[in-house]
Amino acid sequence: MRTSSFSNTKVIDLLNGYFVPVHISNDECREGGSAPVEERELRDRIYRAALEARLDAGTVCAYLVTPEGRPVATAPLNRDVAADPVKLAELMERVIGELGVTKGEPLVPPQPYKGPKALSDDSLMVHVVTRYLERKGDELVPYDVSDSLGTKQAIGWGNLPSESWVELSRDDWVKLLPPGDVAADTKWQPDAKVAAMVLNHYYPPTENTDLAKNRLDELSLSAKVESIDDGVVRARFEGRLRMKHPFYHNDDKNFVSADTIGYVEFDADKLRIRSLVLVTDGATYGGNDAFLHPFGAAARSVTPAK
């Protein structure tokens, strides 16, 4: 949906001008999920009402609902409307016409998602982007999908990057730093469990985003000070990762294999990390050595959302 309909200019204009767009994750609505009870109940009520109205419904589905809460049309992903921007726009225009809706401004200003709010002021928020790469000459570069984004042809897991945000508490991020005094030749092994909190997100876009289904078979990370300048330490990270990560939710034989290189800048008194960047080098994902897909992962520390 993001690659096709939700990247289509006409669908976006219809959503902003005639509808009240809202989305909710089914995962957040499951037992133990973060969605409030009232949200789960509303989602369930709309789902049941759609079924009672003999409309198609599903877990991945768009529901077009009257202001009174009555579903009048649906577009499940497993049918041919939701991910086809032309057909979805037609469905939306039909509902607009039937309900006599007049065009207006977006009721909520569009704004990019900036990640979750940090739980603590001294946390380190790390943003991780992963994407499939393809070879152009001697380089591996992101797919160029500028011509197909927003069309039905753009459907595919590889056509957009995925993003994750990882919050490291102070107790966590301090374990990435050297345990004792810092000198120009200091070398150390950053804490593997804390490193794993970030590197667990080193997998390309897949249907499965459940980190509990990852299995870290190899994780090594070493660090070495490169410079100390006016109380600011810059150190280089080098590491290697091999991780089982199923593409779908069922088990399979797909593995991530990647080297990672990065840099951390921190105050010599270890009161804060100024910046952290880590990228993959030669990362692949796939089922066996003859069948590996290049991808890239880039992690960087960011200012937490307010």
């Binding site: 949906m1 993001r2 690659t3 939700f6 990247s7 902003n16 005639y18 509808f19 009240v20 767009p21 809202v22 989305h23 909710i24 994750s25 089914n26 409030p36 949200e39 509303l42 989602r43 709309i46 529901y63 077009l64 609902v65 009257t66 202001p67 809460g69 607009i96 809706v101 207006g104 909520v108 200003p109 990019p112 998602y113 790469l133 393809e134 001697d138 992101p142 984004l149 927003g150 459907i155 595919g156 897991w157 590889g158 056509n159 957009l160 990057p161 995925s162 249907e207 985003t209 280089r236 779908y248 290189i261 960047v277 990228v279 692949t284 089922g287 069948f291 897909h293 290049p294 880039a298």
Partner: protein, 100 residues
Amino acid sequence: MRVRAICVALTSLMAMSAWCAVGTFDRACRVQAGEPQASRRDADWVHQRVAAWQPTKEERAFDEIGWVPDIRQAMRLAQEHGRPVFLFTYDGANLACYRC
């Protein structure tokens, strides 16, 4: 021939449930794994990669939609403004992760 065989094997593996994966892997089959050796992997190289792999404006078209934070607010705004609600339910941690 070898590439074609690989594609067939991959498609068989991945087509088990999600139709939307096929495009990705057909495309991925066209490239070889592994990266060219760079002479140096220094800090500039790392930062260039971080920048090059960030989502582009076109890839973030989704963010141009004025999403309402939750269904309760959506229903309230719908009644106030006489607009229908467009509710999208999906699987995954959040829509920033779920990008099919």
